[in-house]
């Protein structure tokens, strides 16, 4: 009996709360807020906040054309693989102290899983047999390589800070990062972590492929690159993955740098005099709400604002920017963390 209940619980995790439905709703909402705010910053009225939902459902109702030159199976499976990887990723990212699958994955798994959606897009683009997709995927590969180095350095800096406090050396476990922040306050309050947090904010638009780092999906020059041949539901799933990626990266930022806010929520629930499963449920619910609000703020800061004030960079400028400025900031953080600041 208990096996059935826990199986149902895990199914609920995967399909509803930190899993698919949550990702779907919050991801598209973030994307809608982003579009609306960019419009406001350009003195336009802008589309309704629910516009990405309309776009997604419309694409579900369109005809799906498979080009004659395409390899059909890979072409149609690639979007699903990318979406599945992102939903799995969201299950591992803790919402303050709560994780759906605790103790099963650490930061390194996140690093690998973050690659899969981009690789799925590359595979799908390559399978479509379009020259635009060829240009797009070569640029996407360079973007991945550009973002990867600063991201690894940021994660190392976080791991070192937490690890030297717990005595493990380098601590890659999300559980210990969350526990450390719950006890000692958010990591962003430490001097050594501020450059890493800024670097991570700069990595977010690069990983999601937003302005000004969207050379791989430049719709005005290479027809959205890898998506050029996609139509109908597979295109909708790629657009959905793009929206969910915004949620994934911003909630990763919350988990890494703003985890200290979670202890306040736990104390608040304890003050209300609740105990047992009700208290746990309320803590998770409030934690999720606070995470979503923080994700919205981070999206505005790192994606919308940057989108409104910058023009698209060339691919070699993206590479140079990430491997000098952003990596430099992350490296400063790592060195400071090594000296225990």
């Amino acid at each position: 009996m208990s096996i059935v209940i826990s199986a149902l619980q895990y199914l609920g995790y995967i399909l509803i709360f930190p899993g698919f439905l949550f990702c779907f709703l919050v991801g598209l909402l973030l994307s809608g807020i982003d579009r609306k705010l960019v419009a406001k910053m350009q003195k336009r009225v802008g589309p309704p906040v629910l516009q990405p939902f309309y776009d997604f459902f419309k694409l579900c109702g369109k005809e799906t054309i498979v080009p004659a030159a395409a390899s059909k199976t890979v072409f149609l499976m690639a979007p699903l693989v990318g979406l599945a990887a992102l939903v799995v990723l969201q299950l591992f990212i803790p919402i303050f102290q709560f994780t759906a699958f605790s103790g099963m994955a650490d930061i390194i798994v996140i690093l690998y899983l973050l690659l899969i959606p981009a690789l799925a897009q590359i595979l799908g683009g390559a399978a479509s047999g379009s020259p635009y997709a060829g240009v797009g995927l070569s640029r996407e590969m360079v973007t991945i390589i550009s973002c990867e180095l600063p991201l690894v350095l940021v994660l190392l800096a976080v791991a070192k800070t937490v690890g030297s406090a717990t005595g493990e050396g380098l601590s890659f476990s999300f559980a210990s990062i969350a526990a450390y922040q719950a006890a000692n306050g958010s990591l962003i309050l430490r001097l050594s972590m501020i450059p890493a947090a800024i670097a991570m904010l700069m990595v977010i638009p690069g990983e999601t492929g937003n302005h000004p780092f969207d050379a791989a999906e430049a719709e005005t020059e290479i027809c959205e690159g890898m998506l050029a041949e996609y139509s109908g539901a597979p295109l909708g799933i790629f657009k959905l993955s793009h929206a969910i990626k915004m949620l994934t990266l911003t909630s990763l930022f919350v988990a890494l740098f703003l985890g200290g806010i979670g202890s306040g929520i736990a104390q608040l629930v304890a003050l209300m005099g609740l105990t047992g499963p009700a208290a746990n449920g309320l803590t998770v619910l409030l934690g999720a709400i606070v995470t979503v609000l923080l994700c919205i703020v981070l999206t505005v800061v790192s994606i919308s604002f940057v989108h409104a004030v910058t023009a698209r960079l060339k691919i070699e400028q993206i590479f140079k920017f990430y491997w000098t400025v952003v990596s430099g900031l992350a490296l400063i953080s790592l060195v400071l963390a090594w000296y225990g600041l």
Partner: protein, 146 residues
């Protein structure tokens, strides 16, 4: 319910693909002006798509020259159903001042079914938005009829 949701969404999220069939560039510029902050067609969900496979509405400008006709037909056939074809300016309807020229093979309605005609040389942005809004209604009807 799901069918109704898709039909509603189809009317609210029309993506445009723009084909120049030998236009003088006047209408092309007017179409872009529709998307600028002053007229902001994005508030109705309009977005300029780069690839015909992403589009719902095809906007054709120009008098359809002999050189451009096969390309126009090929691009239109790449747009997934349900789709809507909107001609912009007087040229694709009548040939305008280019009528009778040896290289002009229009009007476009001789070759494909045209859903909306927006007349003018060049049409005002208000007229273009009106025509596109009409096209979204036709798109929704086409989706519901499916």
């Amino acid at each position: 319910m799901f069918k109704k949701l898709i039909a509603e969404s189809t009317a609210k999220s029309p993506w445009l693909f723009h084909i120049n069939a030998g236009s003088c560039n006047g209408c092309d510029i007017e179409l872009v002006s529709v998307l600028t902050p002053r007229y902001d067609a994005e508030r109705l969900g309009f977005k300029l798509a780069g690839s015909p496979r992403h589009a719902d509405i095809v906007v054709v400008t120009g008098p359809v020259t002999a050189q451009s006709l096969p390309r126009v037909l090929r691009a239109i056939s790449q747009v997934p159903e349900p789709r809507c074809i909107v001609t912009m300016g007087s040229c694709p309807q009548s040939g305008n001042v280019f009528r009778g020229s040896y290289s002009v093979v229009g009007p476009l309605s001789k070759y494909v079914h045209v859903d909306v005609d927006v007349a003018g040389c060049a049409p005002k942005p208000q007229a273009v938005i009106d025509g596109l809004a009409l096209a979204t209604k036709i798109l929704k009807e086409k989706r519901e009829a499916k």
